[in-house]
């Protein structure tokens, strides 16, 4: 009986250990892909149309979802904020609330989450499919480096697109908040903008938000690329990889957000 229990526990532990080792292995492989992407990114700038094309597919194609979501997020923020602020008689501060929430947190974070769902999955599926149909192998046999030709342009496209999308998200969100606060609720327009301007700092809030979104861009794109590259070359493997992209990207973004925020508030 005791033997059986010990046996079970040791099997459980070794199972956990195996999984941990596999995770660490993948982490290392991901880091190596990241390094290779950096090393071989010369071509994505020399032949910029390669990167341009990927910016189109990751950035421009995400515009609609980003703008629509931002608009609604801004409107909801204004409604909720007003509901609470008017109890304290400071409904003019609604502009500050909407702007700070968007510029500091929601802009970069929600954009990254939407990006992972919209562009990240597309990247993973595309690369997974290229692997499944031997396109990557074919490229390699043609003496063309798939990392320089496929990975690096997508990587830079993601890194460039993310801050643009996040800035758009924040700006459109503020406009959404404005539409609810000023014409709908009737907050004074001058107070709305001036309070906002008095309390949102360009360096501490806006630039930090942009820095966050650049970091998220690196993380989300890299995860999507790695999952695609690492996917087993089967239909099932690619579909699992796509799911993993969303899960891992989301968790990474939220975790990184905490780390970055604590750095930014301390410094």
């Amino acid at each position: 009986m005791i033997n059986l229990i010990i046996n079970k526990i040791s099997r459980l532990l070794s199972g956990i250990g195996h999984r941990m080792i596999a995770r660490i292995w993948r982490l290392g492989a991901g880091a190596r892909l990241f390094m290779l992407a950096i090393i071989y990114s010369g071509e994505s700038f020399k032949r910029f149309h390669l990167t341009l094309r990927e910016i189109y597919f990751t950035g421009v194609m995400s515009l609609l979802i980003i703008i629509v979501s931002a608009f609604f997020v801004g409107m909801v923020l204004a409604l909720q904020g007003y509901n609470t602020l008017q109890k304290y008689g400071s409904s003019e501060a609604i502009g500050v609330l909407v702007a700070l929430a968007l510029v500091r947190e929601l802009g970069p974070v929600v954009t990254a989450l939407l990006f992972a769902g919209r562009a990240g999955t597309a990247i993973t599926a595309e690369i997974g499919l290229m692997k499944t149909t031997e396109q990557l192998s074919a490229m390699e046999m043609m003496a063309v480096n798939p990392i320089a030709r496929v990975v690096a342009p997508r990587f830079w496209a993601g890194v460039i697109s993310m801050p643009i999308l996040a800035s758009l998200f924040s700006m459109v969100g503020v406009l959404g908040g404005y539409l609810v606060a000023v014409p709908l609720i009737g907050v004074d327009e001058g107070a709305f903008w001036s309070q906002m301007q008095a309390n949102v700092d360009v360096r501490a809030d806006i630039i930090n938000g942009v820095i966050k979104s650049v970091v998220f861009g690196v993380a989300c794109t890299m995860i999507a690329l790695f999952e695609g590259f690492d996917a087993p070359p089967t239909a099932e493997g690619v579909s699992h990889a796509t799911t993993r992209t969303v899960v891992i990207s989301s968790l990474t973004v939220l975790g990184l957000d905490f780390v970055l925020t604590s750095f930014m508030l301390v410094v």
């Binding site: 499919l129 149909t133 031997e134 396109q135 192998s137 074919a138 390699e140 046999m141 043609m142 030709r149």
Partner: protein, 264 residues
């Protein structure tokens, strides 16, 4: 310099100690069409990957044009690969590029040719496979046989010395099969290249091959011209060539005694 462009010397390859190939020797003379035949899972495709330098042998070596492939640097392997063309099993066309761009891909990536010359060359290659009229199509709009022909045009885009075919006949209708068959032979002779065909389609392969290697259980079990092999009395070759159900390759996978297992 020998007259063999590719030589495989006592090659062994395997994963985790289990050997897929056990000491294989093969030579591929210049300007010939040489076929490697064998059952599914006998490691034929792996041989092509070893020649292309995508994987490293466990033992022995592959020489391409006198260079030992696995001892090359990354640049050296890329240099060797520029002299090779490969047709993948399902074509492996780039799905996001048009037929024209697919064929132009190796030229744009590896040469500095002006766009006008690339255009002429691409149309020339597409004309050779009879698909000049389809240059605007996307790969998704092509039939299996057409995709294979486009992939063939892409494989010979840079006039390679060695053309490798991975299962060129698999999954094609008889007409397309005949077309591909004729193309392999005519391209080989027109380019003065060496063709290496990996296949298990006996009829088509024997029609165009100058020399055939049979691979089974990680070894070369038989070799010779198609005519010799048709007459071969070796049990395995006989079973393979004539497609018999039972023989040295048994119908039943190794199992304990049926009677004992049922009653067990």
């Amino acid at each position: 310099m020998t007259s063999n462009i590719v030589e495989i010397d006592n090659l062994s390859f395997g994963y985790n100690g289990r050997l897929l190939h056990k000491g294989i020797n093969m030579v591929f003379p210049k300007r010939k069409v040489v076929a490697i035949m064998g059952g599914s899972g006998s490691g034929k495709t792996t041989l092509l990957r070893l020649i292309g330098g995508q994987i490293k042998p466990t033992k022995g070596e592959v020489r391409v044009d006198g260079h030992v492939v696995h001892k090359q640097t990354r640049d050296g392997i890329y240099q060797l690969r520029r002299t090779m063309g490969m047709l993948f099993q399902h074509g492996a066309l780039f799905t996001d590029l048009s037929v024209f761009d697919n064929v132009a891909f190796p030229m744009r990536e590896l040469t500095d040719l002006p766009e006008s010359m690339i255009r002429d060359l691409v149309l020339l290659k597409l004309n050779a496979v009879g698909l000049r009229g389809a240059h605007k199509f996307m790969p998704a709009e092509l039939s299996g046989g057409m995709a294979r022909r486009v992939a063939l045009a892409r494989a010979v885009a840079l006039d390679p010395n060695i053309i490798m075919y991975d299962e060129p006949f698999a999954g094609l209708d008889p007409i397309s099969m005949g077309v591909i068959c004729g193309l392999i032979r005519s391209l080989n002779d027109a380019l003065g290249a060496t063709s290496i065909i990996v296949s298990h389609d006996v009829k088509e392969t024997f029609l165009i091959a100058d020399y055939v290697y049979f691979v089974a259980n990680g070894e070369v079990t038989a070799e010779g011209t198609p005519e010799d092999l048709m007459q071969s009395t070796l049990p395995f070759v006989h079973q393979f060539v004539h497609g018999e159900k039972d023989g040295p390759v048994p119908f039943h996978y190794a199992a304990p005694d049926y009677r004992a297992q049922l009653l067990g």
